[in-house]
Symmetry: C2
Subunit: 220 residues, 2 copies
């Protein structure tokens, strides 16, 4: 062998890390964590051109993070493996813990107010069966339509102000979005609290909830 197996292994691991080292690809993975999608849909969601999006997807495929299949005229991409979700989550954790910049950005989302600790998924599941909580899915309507936590209301964070009158001020609100890289729930909670609601974030988004093996309401 020309190089040692040790170096060969490390280079493979480094390839996976490199695949995660572009913001565009992290965005794509976040989207694919919601549900499988065609290239065009991914391009639209992420604001990338279709060609650029395709290139990034192929880099992700080269290291096995995503897989594709054909459905009619479209090529549908999906995450190969749920473990990728864990990897992304911990990457976020490490970044949040080690990079001061990240903490500042997250605090900025709350306009300087102290955000309450997020509620964990076990606790939310228990509260849901009691009916003692309002669950708010603040993702765009099409993603909500794809799949959501049973019983959740859909109010996209961009239009939350129009829905405020529909919300009960006496019930605690739990907002969730796409997962650890998504800031919608942060923004929603900040907005709701400024308007006098008792709101918290869910720890993790829909993909994590699904990965726990919990029930999902979905169209397919």
């Amino acid at each position: 062998m020309s190089i040692s197996p040790k170096m060969a292994l490390l280079e493979e691991y480094a390839l996976v890390a490199r695949a995660l080292s572009a913001p565009a690809r992290l965005m794509l993975l976040e989207q694919l964590a919601q549900s499988e999608r065609r290239v065009e849909a991914l391009a639209e969601k992420t604001g990338l051109t279709v060609a650029n999006c395709s290139q990034h997807l192929q880099q992700l495929r080269r290291v096995g993070l995503v897989t594709s299949r054909r459905d009619g005229k479209a090529i549908i991409y999906r995450l190969t493996d749920a473990r990728t979700l864990t990897l992304l989550g911990i990457l976020g954790d490490v970044a949040e813990r080690n990079l001061a910049q990240v903490g500042e950005i997250l605090r900025g989302l709350s306009n300087g107010e102290d955000a309450p600790e997020p509620i964990n998924r076990d606790e939310l599941a228990a509260r849901l069966t009691e009916g003692s909580v309002t669950v708010l899915d603040v993702r765009p309507a099409d993603e909500f339509a794809d799949a959501h936590i049973p019983g959740a209301l859909n109010m996209a964070v961009t239009e939350l102000d129009k829905f405020l009158t529909d919300l009960d001020r006496n019930t605690e609100i739990v907002a969730y979005c796409r997962g650890p890289y998504c800031i919608y729930a942060h923004q929603a909670v900040a907005f709701l609290r400024k308007n006098g609601f008792n709101a918290r974030r869910l720890d993790g988004g829909l993909p994590e909830w699904r990965e726990d093996g919990r029930a999902i309401r979905s169209t397919s």
Copy 2:
């Protein structure tokens, strides 16, 4: 703000991933997972020049993965956070699962023989108290001297052939090394089995054992 907070966040996460995207830096992190070290020691262990090593360490420091302090004339680096261990472990998992190349390299270490499933750390801990197992630390002697699993014998994989007569053929052998990126234990197990011993790998290396909160024999 010039760019959206969402993009700003993703760029930070991507920075962390990029820091993990060079084999040299993964090697450094593996070393630092054993114990804190000075730049010169790291350079020697990894085969990098001191200057090059220093550069890589600074990239790791920039994203908060390592921290340094001064001790006498030396600058000592260490992992900032044990969570980095988890991140590295899952990165390896994902790579092993998704990249065919990785599986081939790992199989190549066993010379085509089927390697048995590794033993997990809980089980090893139980077997250790029973005394029904020989634990073999196959890392270099200096790393063993730094810290090791109590009761383990040290036989560096490179010199394992000289020690074969010291090993009991009737007791199961469990070999461990630096962790998921280290191939010493793979090699040792393959060699031992070829020579008629009943040997298995430990799942995870010394850093993972320590991270579980288990006892360590160490010099300091």
